[in-house]
Amino acid sequence: MSANGGRLRLKDWLRVASVGLRARPLRAALSALGIAIGTAAIVAVLGLSSSSQAGLIAEINRLGTNLLTVEAGQSLTGGPAQLPREAPARITLLDNVQLVAHTALMKDKYVYRSSMIPVGNTGGLQVRATSLNLPSVLNIGVARGNWLNEGTARGPVAVLGSAAAQQLGIDRVYPDQRIWLGGQWFNVAGILNPSPLEPDIDLSALIGYPAAQTYLGYVSIVRGEEKAGPPGTIYVRAATGHEAAAQSLLAQTANPEAPYEVNVSQPSDVLTARAAAAGAFNSLFLGLGVVALIVGAVGVANIMIISVLERRSEIGLRRALGATKGQIRTQFLAESILLAVIGGVVGVLAGAAATAVYASSKSWAVVIPVEAWSGGIASAILIGAFAGLMPAVRASRMPPTVALRTV
């Protein structure tokens, strides 16, 4: 006969290990299901948190981390401070500054759908005067209609932030579309896209500085002359990689006489923090996944013990055909591992599919961390080995004559 001493080849092992699965497929499927659910939960939790983090990081990259904001803080006496009118012009002169835009909040001016709305129902919306380059500095596109231009900035014309438009019930722009702003009618020229970096802009109706001067009386007196202003918030695009250098100079440039009255911040910090939070997976669901895995392992162990009892005659026959104790042990251990791995693979695929569906519905990149799927398969192998060890040892210790005595 052959010289290889009765050892089975890998293909034969696979066939022998799958005997129980082929003989009772439904039972095998049900016992693998527990492990599939556990693995799916773990992979989905890890995949979803990674994908949402990837989505936020992509958004941060799209919006840029080089946006800095300069705002008026508080004066030494605790009252509200003001930025000087010339602050934006001075900041433009700084080395590492590429673009500068600014807005000013119109205090006590509110915007309504029409003049019939009670004065108290402001809906939390604000009115801001804005420089004309605001959309390009903040990377906000115009969703509908047009942005302000030199001409409309002088007239009673407003552009709405996305949340403001929604609040006012305006989803289209057409000629003669009017809103009641600061006690008079303004035409709506356009609606902006959402602005994740600057939620204030979302909630605002934006008008030109000249219009703010003309219609809302927002003026400062400069050497006896009336000028629009001053700005309330200055948006600065710094040269990428030089944000810190620019940031350190902004306060004293904006207000050399009182730099301590100026607040400088980096709005992308908020998003970065959110991304870090999203990356920290939900430990509750992860814990549930682990519990499901343990229950699945108990299920597999249970099935294997029953299987060994039921298949005594098969064990006896295999011993009579020349299987060693070790081969019987390996057969049942391999069957248990195979069951668990099938569950694990199905679980990884289901978890990945769930992640893919959810992530693409949010238009995030689909990210399944390597640790998630490799860990899922590895834990399935361990569970299978652990659950199958005792039944396999029992099967191998069964004397062949006892095994054959059944039926």
Binding site: M1, S2, A3, N4, G5, G6, R7, L8, R9, K11, D12, V16, V19, R22, A23, S313, E314, G316, L317, R318, R319, A320, L321, G322, A323, T324, K325, G326, Q327, P399, P400, T401, L404, V407
Partner: protein, 232 residues
């Protein structure tokens, strides 16, 4: 009778349990030569099943010597005994013990699974063995589609597929009706005529009488060993 001994028993005893000890075999000796067809016959409880298990190396004797093809089975490890069973002994059981999810051909080929034979060779020899038992056209069927007699033929083919030194048949007709049983006995006689050494266990004296040699067992001892003159 010609040929060397393939099986030798010398003072074989088997005692079950400790308190009290139950002797199942009380000193059995004898030998079987290559090419013989032997019936071991006795009522239930006579120890014939234990004798078959000891001959088949499924159980070790309490004392005495069992030599299969000249090798003393008592000195072998589990691994060596398994190899001996895989290569030198074929079993046929009363309950057939076929795998229902596998085809007839796979069942027969599994007779060589633990003998270290590559798969292609196993299937080639399985087809050969099925040819010998007259079931070549049933090779791709599942055992559940076969009659009892056909199933036992499959089991016989599985026992023969490795060309073992000895085929041990344990009540091979016990689960069959008389027609199917007779055809299995006929098959065994044919295979023996073609050279296989067969030891059959039965409790039916009438069945044993049809075989050339009968060893009668009672209370764990051989009470007679008669060889019939081969019919012309």
């Amino acid at each position: 009778m010609n040929g060397e001994s393939v099986l030798e028993l010398d003072g074989v005893t088997k005692v079950y349990g400790e308190e009290p000890p139950v002797p199942a075999l009380r000193g059995v000796s004898g030998s079987v030569r290559r090419g013989e067809l032997v019936a071991i016959v006795g009522p239930s409880g006579s120890g014939k099943s234990t004798l078959l298990h000891v001959i088949g190396t499924l159980e070790r004797p309490s004392s005495g010597v069992v030599r299969i093809g000249g090798v003393d089975a008592a000195r072998l490890s589990d691994r060596e005994l398994s190899r001996l069973r895989a290569r030198e002994i074929g079993f046929v059981f009363q309950q057939f013990f076929l795998a229902e999810h596998a085809t007839v051909r796979e069942n027969v080929a599994d007779g060589l699974l633990y003998a270290g034979v590559p798969a292609a060779e196993r299937y080639r020899r399985a087809d050969e063995a099925l040819e010998r038992v007259g079931l070549a056209e049933r090779a791709r069927f599942k055992p559940t589609k076969l009659s009892g007699g056909e199933r036992q033929r499959v089991a016989v083919a599985r026992a023969l597929v490795g060309r073992p030194a000895i085929v041990l048949a344990d009540e091979p007709t016990g689960n069959l009706d008389s027609t199917a049983g007779a055809s299995i006995i006929e098959l065994i006689r044919e295979l023996n005529a073609a050279g296989a050494t067969v030891i059959m266990i039965t409790h039916e004296a009438g069945l044993a009488d049809q075989l050339p040699r009968q060893i009668r067992v009672l209370d764990g001892q051989v009470v007679s060993d008669t060889v019939k003159r081969a019919a012309p």
